[in-house]
Amino acid sequence: MTKNLNLWVIPLLPLIGAAINGLFGRRFKNAMVSAVALLFTAASFGWAAWAVWTVWPGSGIALPHIETLGTWITAGTFSAPFGFYLDQLSMIMVLVVTGVGFLIHIYSVGYMAHEGGYYRFFAYLNLFMFFMLTLVLANNYLLMFVGWEGVGLASYLLIGFFFLKDSAADAGKKAFIVNRIGDFAFLIGMFLIIRHFGSLNYDAVFGKIAAGHFTPEAGWGIFTAIALCLMFGATGKSAQVPLYVWLPDAMEGPTPVSALIHAATMVTAGIYMIARSHAIFNLAPHALQIVAIIGCITAIFAATMGLAQTDIKRVLAYSTVSQLGYMFLACGVAAYSAGIFHLMTHAFFKALLFLGAGSVIHAVGGEQDMRRMGGLRKLIPVTFWVVTIATIAIAGIPPFAGFFSKDEILGAVFHSPYGGPVIWGIGVLTAGLTSFYMFRLWFMTFFGELKLGSVELGEEAHAAKAPAQAAHGAASHSHGHADDHSHGHGGVHESPWIMLAPLVILAVLSFVGGWVGVPQFMGGHNEIEQFLAPVMQSGPAVAGEAVSDKDATTSHAGEATPENTKEELFLAGTSVAAALIGLFFAYLFYYKSPELPDRITSKMHGIYMMVLHKYYVDEGYGAIFVKPLLALSTVVLWRGVDQGVIDGLVNGAGTASQGVGNELRQMQSGNIRSYAAWVAIGGAAIVAYMIWLGVTR
């Protein structure tokens, strides 16, 4: 008995919230705006929870649960419905999106209290929720593409929220265009799917694959093509190596935006898409190999860049890119459930870190540079403890969530043919680097002497960094640098409870989150793995690696054979060790002898500058793609072809006819003798012609 869950209500509620705030928000007071926003997000979360609860595996309702509302596009042989698809994977995603989203909404009420354009912010936030939920709940690739581009639009609007600042507007535009490049590849992937499966609906596509018509060898060309296109689309959205450049710049947006979009939900869309189309990826072993490699490169690459950053949000941004690299790596080795598990835990502690950083910035009046912070431990205790939990979680130290999900991935990588010890080694190294830069952030912000707190610094930060003084919209309030208002100059103080409550909840989740997936050899029975099993096993097993995938899960779920556990324990041990080493170095560099890092950086100046300037990738992209493109289109295309060639021809025809006319005018010179001459010539010509006729005939 399929109960009609009206899944379409979940995405619709935030859309209504966005519409109300968008259209009438100008006239509402802030309280009313936040009330509308929170109400609709909460309702959506409630409905989602209810839907998940009713469809929970034990409830007898067959999963995946599909509801179609009506056809959206139909032409010729192709049609795409408004369809919604609920199965274990989308259950997790919908809960994470609405849950974390709701917490961040609460947080932003406090955070954005003094910002201008309050209604605009919440309208965009709700709009983002609508698109993200459409993406997660869609039952076909086209509707997912709607969500896909929609979140791109929402991130464009939210990153460019402080549009008075050119850097924010540029960052927003950069994000949208880079995402669009990814969407281009996704579009091609969809066309390939239409061409070979006739439809984009998941059940149709996966049904045909599951029907076993395809042996990996026979159709590998097509599947690799589709998988690669989808993968390239995912790199655009989840900021992987070639297309990650937009994420660090996206920090121009307000911090809650970074937390929601660039940590918890949007960037994970790519991972969700790959996990969702695992059936295709499983049949394209080469594509999986590439996914793994890209994931690994991104992880290590971003981690190194995170080391040198001084801006607190940039560090977190690079850490997000690095963690996404982990998830990509997990998907690359076909351990999709491990990827999703890490996605979930990452959503908790990364959102917490961003919000924590936000409350730190909020406390110190808009200051983002870590070098200017220090010794805030006692001034903002709650934030301190919450950020500590998150930092330990992300570093991957056992009882916390991060350890379990990261270890799950590293374990899967070690066993999988696509992973292998080399990539596993890089993974562990990245884990070490992660813990190093996270604790670096931790020490620099909360320990050391109190550089902050004095009024002058607030002033100096205010003056030095506050270019945008222009009155902003209705708010008469003058504008601090970046996103934060210079809170009252009374020095450092703890954020209001409305901001801290979500932090505490997230902290609990970061702590508890990991226990869902405790692996066998540690006594747990990895509930999340079993929970996702029906989804992940529905497609064909990964080509040529069927066994290990099975045994990876069986060894986890199955009996804890002695040599199996010993090996697993060894793996877990190394990753914990890496985390602790990172902690120690951070402690050494930034707590015991703060001058040490300067000495090291002065020695390895070249490398340090490289890393500081993010390997000059942005400038490289600019020089390779953007400038030549602009030059080409200005000089060659517009001036050259358009005005030069084509207009030249057209106007040339005009002037040519004038010239000929002018020449002919000479004949009518009015001089009788020239007329006589022309008559004579005419006569001669006729005579000559007649002679010629006579001769030739």
Binding site: A677, A680, A688, I691
Partner: protein
């Protein structure tokens, strides 16, 4: 044989007159040289047995038209031509034009002369008698004859109108 000698003599006179027409600066002398040309032509017509035409030539052309010309020259008291360096255009276009014309016609005639064959001196009154011409004129060519009369009438009226001095 006689025919050739006479032909050459009168031909040369004719050409000399024509050249003189060009060379002379004063119109009256070129008019007179034209009269010489016309007379020599009349004689050539006689050579070809066209007595009536020769007579008409002398009477109409030499007698009437040339007299008219001389009369007008006298009337207008036209002086000698000025040496205007004038349009060199005529030189540039005229001379080569004429050369081409003469050249082609000449080449044509010379190359074609073989096929044409000769014409011989015709005895008196065996060919171009007036009555034959008259019969021809008033039978086959009656219509052109009437038209030419109308033409003459119009010409006269034209001349009168143009010549009249508005007073």
């Amino acid at each position: 044989m006689v025919h050739q000698v006479l032909f050459i003599v009168f031909g040369l006179i004719c050409v000399a007159g024509a050249i003189n027409l060009l060379v002379q600066r004063h119109p009256i002398s070129s008019a007179l040289s034209l009269v010489v040309v016309m007379a020599s032509l009349a004689l050539i017509y006689l050579l070809l047995g066209a007595e009536f035409v020769a007579a008409i030539q002398v009477i109409v052309y030499a007698g009437a038209i040339m007299v008219l010309f001389v009369f007008v020259i006298m009337l207008l008291n036209a002086g000698a031509e000025e040496r205007t360096r004038g349009s060199r255009m005529a030189l540039i276009v005229g001379v080569p034009g004429v050369i081409i014309l003469a050249g082609t016609v000449g080449w044509m005639l010379v190359s074609g002369s073989g096929r044409l064959g000769g014409v011989n001196l015709v005895g008196p009154s065996s060919f171009g008698e007036t009555h034959a011409i008259a019969r021809l004129l008033f039978k086959e060519f009656l219509l052109p004859f009437e038209i030419t009369s109308v033409l003459i009438l119009i010409a006269i009226m034209g001349a009168v109108v143009l010549g009249k001095r508005e007073n």
